[in-house]
Symmetry: none
């Protein structure tokens, strides 16, 4: 596969520094007609002051109308078109549980399930068993299953979900799902989807048989299904593509994971937002691109807690002076996608962006909010993958095109 | 041929309802410097109030600078890229005269013409004979021509124009024009442009010879030329592509025709705009996507009648409360293209769009007009084919992309 980037010619040996501050799920909606969004409601004097010196806009990380997942949306911000650079479901799950996936590992997402005496699926989620029960069953399988020549890991996720990882020589993600995605059928036999997948498919069939044997007397989770077999993608690294030395600072596994997928240096988990900014300060002289991820805006959006999301935005605003005190050349403040508290879920609404640069042409709009961003010079609907070239340009890191 | 849609994953079994209200040729121009457009001049309290709760923008159905025909522009609104989904000229003509084109029929556009004694074209429009004369000549040909194994239909259009339709087994639109598109030459011999067209080309050559024989003593229309041989396109249907059950409500044949081409259910011709809204009310529980077409905005634009176009927009505004009383989840109000009264023709100016949704992020711009739309969050130059995914998204009909 060829990877297409909007790749401009990079200037060598630049010292300028770029901060990408992502408030997850930042975009919002008013709770009632004529009201304000979370970001518009928040009292953000520091962001508003920075907005006045910046360019504003609203971004989409995927085509209009589509709601992206977090991994996909972050790829867009990193300049990797998420409709082209696909991360397998198994890999996303492994990243989400902070599993340190090796370059040759193959991961799959698993569901504990209930089957009848004939092996027909009755419940693909085994009655949504508690997380502790999922943990116990993972241990049970681990104890009873032995695969020849490969190591395997079982990591419980929430409730009935788990991640299976195979580690060994000659593995491939080219294996079909055992999950028929419906009840009333038996689980499917894992098959190779290319010759490279034959060995792995045989191992998975062996695993499935042994693990089902181990589970057969359990209730209600007496079986399981697997889907999304995948290995870590082998993509051009962020540092190579954009000519920077990038570091990721985040509290949650998924975001450190997606940064790892694109080859950023990844800091250990931060313990708080303040801790994240302290890490940024400590790392300032060691790198030149800083991805800082704030999770709780999204979490409170998912909870439908408008006020708490507003409050987190205000806390981030209070931390902004510490970032600006480092004298960054370029700062991007944005979200990966929208998570309006009104909808309690990700949504397809475009996401506010503030692009500050010492050489930016400011929009002179002294407000960071969705409707303010809709009036900004980045436009009300630009694609997230265009952000990196614009940021690099403002940072003086791009060569001229032509004479 | 493969058809490319920006096709997101559709959620099954959604109940939300979407109205697409198209005022044909809606986009306009001021008649004098500093003036207002037709839409800006019209007193539209209902649309203005809805605008405040909506997202606004200006759309292009074809690339910037290009003026679309009505059929092409509607395809764009339906999410079918008109530069990729081509409807043959013959089919467009057949749709325009309300001919019920079957799936295997082949249609062509005909011009009555004047030729000299050597058969050289002197006038490709036969002195723009009156419509009644065209009707008489169609009957004359019908009486004298007999084709072997196929049925044919001749439908007069305006003045010198007519539509020829062949109906039978094994027909194909792969036949070249007989129209040399210039005077001073003889009409061309119809040829197959692919092996599939051989049979049809032979029938057309036979038709041309017999029909010329029938016309030879007429004056000034003693001959004719044919162009744009085509069969109904076989495209993925609107309902399949977008996961809706769509119905088209329109007064004029062309618009019911283009809806038929994409596989919508098409209501019988409405008798007035009020009748169209009554049909909408009656059909509300039978479908979930409603294409309602208003013709007269375009007609008055073509006439150069600024005031009459303004008045029609005001009449549509007065009908809007009846649409909103149905409690639609999403409403799009737009045009297919611009037809400024100032220009008395279609033009390439972008077209105002109002996209209302219960979960839209409103622009808070309480005016529906071209310059107001240019400030809206849909952007001042977005592509019409992006409307359907955005509308479906607001209607809760799209799955998330990724995890």
């Amino acid at each position: 596969m060829d990877f297409e980037f909007i790749q401009p010619l990079l200037k060598e040996d630049q010292k300028s520094k770029i901060v990408l501050l992502v408030m997850d799920g930042l975009g919002g909606l008013p709770m009632q007609d004529g009201g304000k969004t979370e970001l518009e409601t928040a009292c953000t004097p520091n962001m508003d002051a920075l907005a006045e010196k910046s360019m504003l806009g609203l971004h989409h990380s995927v085509p209009f109308g589509i709601t992206p997942g977090s991994g996909q949306a972050h790829l867009g911000l990193f300049g990797y078109d998420p409709t082209q650079f696909e991360i397998g479901r198994g890999v996303l799950s492994a990243l989400g549980v902070d599993f340190d996936l090796g370059p040759d590992d193959v991961a799959a997402r698993g569901n504990f399930a209930t089957v009848d005496a004939q092996g027909v699926l009755i419940d693909r989620r085994a009655g949504r068993i508690p997380t502790e029960e999922g943990e116990r069953l993972c241990k049970l399988i681990k104890k009873h299953v032995h695969l020849s020549g490969v190591e395997f890991f079982l990591v419980p996720e929430k409730e009935y979900r788990f991640v299976l990882v195979l580690r060994g020589e000659g593995l491939s993600g080219d294996v079909t799902d055992t999950d028929p995605q419906t009840v009333g059928k038996t689980a499917l036999l894992a098959q190779a989807s290319s010759p490279a997948g034959e060995h792995t498919a045989a191992l998975i069939r062996d695993f499935v048989e042994q693990a089902n044997q181990a589970l057969k007397d359990q209730h209600p989770a007496n079986s399981f299904v697997l889907r999304g077999f995948a290995a870590m993608p082998k993509w051009p690294s962020f540092n190579t593509v954009w000519g920077v030395d990038a570091v990721a600072i985040a509290m949650y596994p998924m975001y450190r994971g997606v940064a790892k997928v694109v080859g950023m240096t990844v800091m250990p988990p931060a313990e708080s937002m303040e801790h994240e900014i302290s890490m940024l300060e400590e790392q300032w002289n060691n790198h030149d691109f800083f991805f800082v991820h704030i999770k709780k805006t999204d979490s409170y959006g998912e909870d439908g807690n408008f006020d708490a999301k507003v409050h987190i935005i205000e806390e981030v605003d209070a931390l902004l002076p510490r970032i600006m005190a480092l004298d960054p050349d370029v700062v991007i403040i944005t979200g990966d996608h929208s998570t309006p508290a009104k909808l309690k879920s990700h949504s397809a609404h475009p996401v506010p962006v503030l692009l500050y640069g010492k050489n930016a042409r400011p929009d002179l709009i002294a407000e960071f909010g969705e409707r303010a961003c809709a009036r900004g010079s980045l436009g009300p609907r630009f694609f997230a993958i265009d952000l990196m070239p614009m940021a690099l340009s403002l940072a003086g890191r791009l060569e001229k095109f032509g004479a």
